[in-house]
């Protein structure tokens, strides 16, 4: 509908044109009122031209309050400041990063709630100007929640691995216990044999002890495979734009945030632009940290989640995930990154230990500090990608 269509060939009568315009207006209005997706049309300056009834409901505004305003009002602070630059860059370079592609981003409702949404953008040219139409799907919608989550899992493939962290502990226990059981059986049996003093006891016991040793090695092999699973070598590291990496992870983790009553804010350091990392593994850590933060604030009166990025020096960038939960008791802070330590009613206590292993394998660190004014800040450092190197691949990796 935002596509203006080919110019009308006949211009014989002004009345005809007016008639057509009226008809087109009516058509447009009916579409906007009935289209099930939230739809927002903006111009090249980012000014909202029109929007669908669903969009009004989704963002909690009335159309009259939005038309004529910059669309950035529907975005959290960090995106708000950058949105005009996004449009400028696109108009200048004609290089699409979201148009015709679609991605998961964070939206901001009138009441201040943030929520994950899928945004796809179409472009239309009219004789005088360019228009952009955004289609928004709310990813928190209850009835679609599970299905959407599943879709995201397969689309982006990282939640699958994040979930795998929890399941892995169970599988690991089972896998490791098999050889351990065999070791114990062989050794206990050998002792029984030796104590019995039967003629062939020593020979049979030595055989059994050899078999026990084999099984101990098998256990070691399982642990080695686990390590490889957790931190798959450096070959996967690439130059990645940090903001997009963080935003995507946050949008995923924030699914269902509404039910938690959590407000998410982002603060991106413009100097923290590119990192050298395995995107999926880092996103896995961030999803884990953000989910933890949301859980931690479950019973707090104030539920503010802040994700910020910082350039520390030439080689290091840091991402902070801060919450306003009860904070980490000093007693447990030291053990928090040990496996099987947890403060949750449900949970195996492997998320943070695996996250730290991944962070270290990626050349970074992961630790926790107390947040000023209460709560916790988890800090993750990453290797900064040199600007020169980044420039070469920017086009290849950003949308």
């Amino acid at each position: 509908m935002a596509r203006a269509g080919p110019p009308t060939p006949q211009t014989d009568s002004a009345a005809d044109d007016t008639g057509r315009l009226v008809e087109r207006d009516a058509l447009l209005t009916s579409i906007l009122e009935t289209v099930p997706d939230a739809m927002i049309v903006i111009d090249a300056q980012g000014i909202i031209q029109t929007l669908s009834a669903t969009a009004e409901r989704l963002f909690g505004y009335r159309a009259a309050d939005l038309i004529g305003r910059n669309v950035s009002i529907l975005m959290p602070d960090a995106d708000r400041r950058r949105h005009d630059q996004y449009i400028d860059r696109y108009l200048r370079t004609a290089e699409p990063r979201i148009i015709g592609i679609g991605r998961v981003v964070v939206g901001l409702r009138k009441n201040g709630d943030t929520f994950p949404m899928h945004l796809s953008v179409g472009e239309a040219h009219t004789a005088e100007r360019r228009l952009f139409t955004g289609f928004v799907r709310d990813l928190t919608e209850r009835q679609e929640f599970q299905q959407r989550l599943t879709e995201l899992q397969s689309e982006l493939a990282h939640m699958a691995r994040a979930t795998a962290l929890g399941e892995m502990a169970s599988t690991l226990a089972h896998e490791l216990n098999q050889p351990l059981t065999a070791v114990a059986n062989y050794l206990k049996g050998s002792r029984r044999l030796l104590e019995s003093g039967t003629p062939d006891a020593v020979g049979r016991a030595s055989e059994a002890i050899d078999l026990a040793a084999d099984q101990a090695l098998r256990a070691g092999e399982i642990i080695r495979r686990l390590r490889e699973f957790v931190a798959r070598g450096e070959s996967e590291q690439r130059v990645e734009p940090l903001i997009r990496l963080v935003e995507e992870a946050a949008a995923l983790a924030l699914i269902g945030a509404q039910e938690y009553g959590v407000r998410a804010a982002f603060a991106f350091d413009p100097a923290a632009d590119f990192v050298l990392a395995d995107r999926i593994q880092i996103q896995q850590i961030l999803v884990n940290l953000i989910r933890n933060a949301m859980d931690a604030m479950h019973e707090s009166p104030r539920r503010d989640l802040t994700v910020s990025t910082h350039r520390l020096d030439r080689d290091t960038i840091r991402v902070d995930v801060a919450d306003t939960g009860p904070g980490i008791a000093p007693l447990i802070a030291d053990q928090l990154f040990q496996p099987f330590v947890t403060t949750k009613a449900h949970g195996l206590g492997v998320g943070l230990s695996i996250s730290r292993t991944i962070a270290q394998a990626q050349g970074g660190e992961l630790w926790v500090d107390a947040r000023e004014g209460g709560g916790a800040v988890f800090r993750l450092t990453l290797k900064s990608a040199r600007r020169a190197a980044a420039a070469e691949v920017e086009g290849a990796h950003e949308l």
């Binding site: 089972h174 216990n177 206990k188 098998r218």
Partner: protein, 202 residues
Amino acid sequence: MSSDAVVHLIDDDAAVRQSLAFLLATAGHAVRVHESALAFLENLEGLQPGCIVSDVRMPGMDGLALQRRLRELGVKLPMIIMTGHADVALAVEAMKAGAVDFIEKPFDDDLLLGAIAVALERRGDAAAQDSETARTRERLERLTEREREVLEGLLAGRPNKTIAYDLGISPRTVEIHRANVMTKMGARNLATLVRMTLAARA
């Protein structure tokens, strides 16, 4: 052990199977090994009396499904379930379905051999079971209100942390109540506790 009794061992892991057969042999048991529940079911004809020691998590048919199938078929061999992953809910289910014991891998040899001894003795000894049931009922009477609530949580297959959450008390307090329940009931492990409580209620 009983001269005619055979321990039927079912586990899909070859190393576990062989090592366990070795251990049981050194303890004087006659052992038959089966690499799956289905393989065991295929050889039911002419089945030698004794007991079954089976893993839970196996491809094809798992230990619990085997337990159900055997009951349908009217095979009354006492069964000991082993698991590589301690899962309370699973233990409760197995015990409710009539397993003699539920043992977590890896285990001390005495623990398994003790369970096998119990399983082999249990065949047909109804009088002993009645007196045990009466004893269990007496012990249940001696539990406090809170201890009974914790016991209910355990029977429902809930971990300590969940029970604590449900009752609005700390996990440490649950641990203490749980320990008291075990002592008062004279149960050496959770599986025994579940088995004796369920038997007393039946």
